[in-house]
């Protein structure tokens, strides 16, 4: 540390000790109220003129945490991804709007129509299959009784 820096540090400490307000004394070092979030955010983005910035700077001078925040933001660091659990929970704060009644009725109607179509198709397919199997059985049965050549008995297998 150079002599100038040492001198500066000494003066700064004396100023801070002298200017720190005792309890109940308004004004002075450390008594600036916390600025509103919007004002502080605007300051952090250098969007305030000197007069607007003065109360923010008076507050910042005594809030090391906020100075660190300021440094972090100006270093242009990107935030790491948030835990998935946080994202899931936060998304759950706003519920999806309930669907209108007519849309729900339409949904149930489409389910019922689907079931009806599936049922009818299944019934018809099953019925058709029974008819065919009966016809085949009749033909095959006839062949087995009469033989493939008809009723003269030449083709009888037993």
């Amino acid at each position: 540390m150079t002599d100038i820096e040492r001198d500066g540090l000494d003066l700064w400490r004396r100023y801070r000790a002298a200017a720190r307000p005792a309890s109940g004394i308004p004004g002075g070092f450390g008594s600036a109220p916390e600025p509103a979030s919007a004002l502080l955010a605007a300051y952090l983005e250098h969007r305030l003129d000197e007069a607007e910035a003065a109360p923010v700077e008076a507050w910042l001078a005594h809030n090391p945490d906020a100075i660190i925040l300021l440094s972090e933001l100006s270093s242009n660091a990107s935030a790491p991804p948030a835990p998935l659990g946080l994202i899931r929970q936060a998304r759950g704060l706003v519920a999806a709007p309930p669907r209108p009644a007519w849309r729900q009725a339409m949904a149930w109607a489409s389910v019922a129509a689907s079931l009806l179509i599936v049922g009818t198709t299944g019934f018809l397919a099953g019925h058709d299959a029974v008819d065919r199997s009966e016809a085949i059985a009749t033909i095959v049965g006839g062949d087995l009784i009469d033989g493939p050549g008809g009723g003269d008995g030449d083709g009888a297998v037993f």
Binding site: G8, L9, L11, W12, R13, R14, Y15, A17, A19, R20, P21, A22, G27, G28, F29, A32, S37, A38, L40, A41, A42, L44, E45, H46, R47, A53, A54, P55, E57, A58, L60, A61, P64, D65, A66, I67, I68, L69, L70, S71, E72, L73, S75, N76, S78, A79, P80, P81, A82, P83, G85, L86, I87, Q89, A90, R91, L93, V94, A96, P97
Partner: protein
Amino acid sequence: MVQDGPLDIARLRRGDKPAWDAFVARFAGIIHAAVAGVLQRTGRDLNEASDLAQDVFVRLCKDDYRLLGQYDPARASPATWLTVVARSVALDAVRRRRAPSVTLDDAPEAAIAVAAIEPTRLRIPAGLLSPRQELILTMLYDRDMDPTEIGATLGIDPQTVRSMHHKALTRLRGHFAPPGGDV
């Protein structure tokens, strides 16, 4: 600064679910990082970060999105504003969880005694240093930041930082110089 696009506050305030989901996905990392930063600096358990970040989201949509409605895109980007809000919520939580207060009867006498006001404390004239000069001296001497870092942080030239530092010390030297002595 964190670069980010505009925020559709109107859709969010209407309770638009897809807009809210996109908002959460976009800013959860920033909010979580801001909250974790406060916890780290105050020596708290970092496992609380997710709960506190969730508190931030709760506050944003509470009372018909009142807090979210306070966001002004003309003043700051959403990322910066949300960082400030998250930091504020986290600090509030940290303050609330501090050691319970002690009743006046249980407090030791020394703890409640009012310190005598030293005459020197009243001798600092208002406006001896400007808020910016105080801020620069705080950053230089309390946070060990150099003029280049300070300039980048405050959005001013490092040479301006050095100049303001010099002027501030000159004023302090003049103030603390013994009466009749050299400045």
